[in-house]
């Protein structure tokens, strides 16, 4: 099997904006109080050529096509699809049967409703399961400010990098790129270690311990970086592996090492087309981990980086008053207060 150079893989992943033909997609979930969800997908493209869909839909949806001409005279083709789902299970079924561009990602939605007498609390979320089993959370590499910027939508990043504090935010972006670069290296090596030790254990029951390899993880990162340009050939010869685990073990576990590398690459490099997700909740919004703009729209960017090593959960919570509970409570209080007043009057 031809091995792709890790460096190239990592560079591809690190470039956040890759020119692809996929349309710019925004998925909006309008959550209703009974648990039903109206999903609207809007795809914009420079070409009237919608082949890859980031979010699945079919002919049961209401689909409309339109066109917009921008100020610069560019034509933008727009495809809008809408469907009312009775519950999140129907959405999850659509995701399960997805054959679109992002079928590799395991996505599911969740909805819960809790009755708290005066209010009903709603929670809606969409989660994408993580790809790597042995990866590191990105928060171990970025500080709070960097983390917030890392998860910001592209439009916000672009605004900030062209705004009055552009220098600050560009420097922040560079710092994040440098740190996520290291994060990516660590992830793929960690994944390889995890898979490799599992395979070696399966081979002869004993294998190579995770702990022993983990202690040398940083050294392995240095090795990979060092032999960046000639990685393929050196790996094929077994030289890299010798540096990792010694000559004896390298010869013994060559097959497992190759399998582990294929496995790690497969899960590290996934062909995921990014899009944006919006959620509109019933009642008053009380909590979210999303980005709230000035019109109180909740927005999340969805990109493969976000669910590489951790599940990416996009959630929102809201509350709606239970009118009948307020009325019943009001009557009850009135009844008790009236009784107490009557007693006071009669006593007097």
């Amino acid at each position: 099997m031809k091995m792709k150079p890790i460096r190239l893989i990592i560079m591809m992943i690190l470039m956040m904006v890759i020119s692809c033909d996929e349309p710019e997609t925004v998925v909006s979930n309008y959550v209703h109080s009974d648990g039903s969800v109206t999903r609207k997908i809007e795809m914009r493209s420079a070409k009237n050529n919608f082949k890859t869909f980031q979010v699945p839909f079919d002919n049961t949806w209401t689909v409309k096509d339109s066109i917009e001409i921008s100020a610069k005279g560019d034509t933008v083709w727009i495809k809008r699809a809408e469907k009312l789902f009775k519950n999140v299970e129907e959405i999850n079924l659509v995701y399960k049967l997805d054959t679109g561009a992002n079928k590799i990602a395991s996505r599911h939605a969740g909805f819960s409703k809790r009755f708290k007498w005066f209010n009903t609390e709603f929670r809606f979320s969409e989660t994408i399961d993580k790809q790597l089993s042995f990866g590191y959370p990105v928060r171990q590499f970025l500080n709070d400010e960097e983390l917030k910027y890392f998860y910001s939508p592209e439009s916000v990043k672009s605004e900030k990098e062209h705004g009055s504090d552009s220098l600050k935010f560009r420097a922040l972006g560079d710092s994040i790129n440098h740190k996520t670069d290291r994060w990516a290296y660590k992830n793929i090596i960690s994944e390889w270690i995890g898979e490799f030790t599992k395979l070696t254990e399966l081979k002869d029951g004993k294998g190579i311990s995770v702990g022993s390899l983990k202690t040398h993880e940083d050294d392995m990162v240095k090795v990979v970086k060092k032999y960046d340009k000639t990685f393929d050939s050196l790996w094929a010869k077994g030289e890299i592996l010798k540096e990792f685990i010694g000559e004896t073990d390298a010869l013994k576990y060559k097959t497992e090492a190759d399998s582990a590398l294929s496995y790690a690459e497969k899960h590290f490099l996934i062909d995921f087309k990014k899009y944006s997700l919006r959620i509109v909740m019933p009642g008053k919004l009380t909590g979210t981990n999303g980005f709230i703009d000035s019109s109180k729209v909740l927005l999340w960017p969805v990109d493969s980086d976000y669910f590489m090593t951790e599940p990416y959960e996009m959630w929102a919570e809201s509350k709606m008053p239970n009118t009948w509970a307020w009325i019943v409570s009001g009557f009850f209080l009135l009844f008790v207060i009236t009784g107490v007043i009557i007693r006071i009057i009669k006593k007097g």
Binding site: G73, N119, F332
Partner: protein, 183 residues
């Protein structure tokens, strides 16, 4: 003397009357008649005091009264707590929105737009104020207007040259005019 004798006669008569209490021979007849008449009296269909007593009779039972009052107080406390938590959550989110907005600075183009909006306001509201606009901003404004004119011309050319676009454009115009009529 005569007056004293008269007073004595008066008092004597009174004494006789005081000593001689009227005797009720039998109370049984009265009792029977009273009970009979009470039992015969039809209860009014709606007796407000009875209704009140039946509804609010619990106030005289100590433990029931105390339990209900405690339940009411608890209900009020739960309400205040829930609303307080919700307000806190909403305020926290509102502050998040503000934070994000403050970080966005208006570009020069948007500042010019802002000034234009000010100018569009009715004269009487505007004349009492003055705005400051630099030469650079005026130049930008004029460039922007010229740019719009050029782009409009280019846009119309594009539409005229593309049959598909032209059709869409014409359909849209018809749709808009229809909407206007409805309004």
């Amino acid at each position: 003397m005569t007056m004293i004798m008269e007073s004595e006669k008066y008092n004597k008569i009174l004494n006789v009357l005081r000593v001689s209490k009227p005797v009720l021979d039998s109370t049984e007849d009265i009792e029977k008649e009273v009970i009979k008449r009470i039992s015969k009296v039809k209860k009014p269909i709606f007796n407000l005091s009875e209704v009140i007593d039946s509804l609010f009779g619990w106030v005289y039972i100590g433990w029931v009264r105390r339990t209900l009052i405690s339940a009411s107080v608890l209900l009020v406390m739960i309400f205040i707590y829930q609303q307080g938590v919700m307000l806190k959550q909403i305020n926290f989110l509102s502050r998040q929105i503000i934070d994000n907005r403050e970080e966005m600075r208006f570009s020069t183009e948007q500042q010019v737009e802002k000034l234009l909006m000010e100018y569009k306001k009715p004269r009487r509201g505007f004349s009492s104020r003055s705005i400051t606009i630099s030469e650079k901003q005026i130049k930008e404004l004029l460039d922007s207007v010229n740019d719009v004119k050029t782009k409009y011309k280019d846009l119309m050319d594009i539409i005229q040259n593309n049959p598909e676009l032209k059709k869409l454009y014409d359909d849209k115009l018809i749709e808009n005019s229809r909407t206007k009529i409805k309004l």
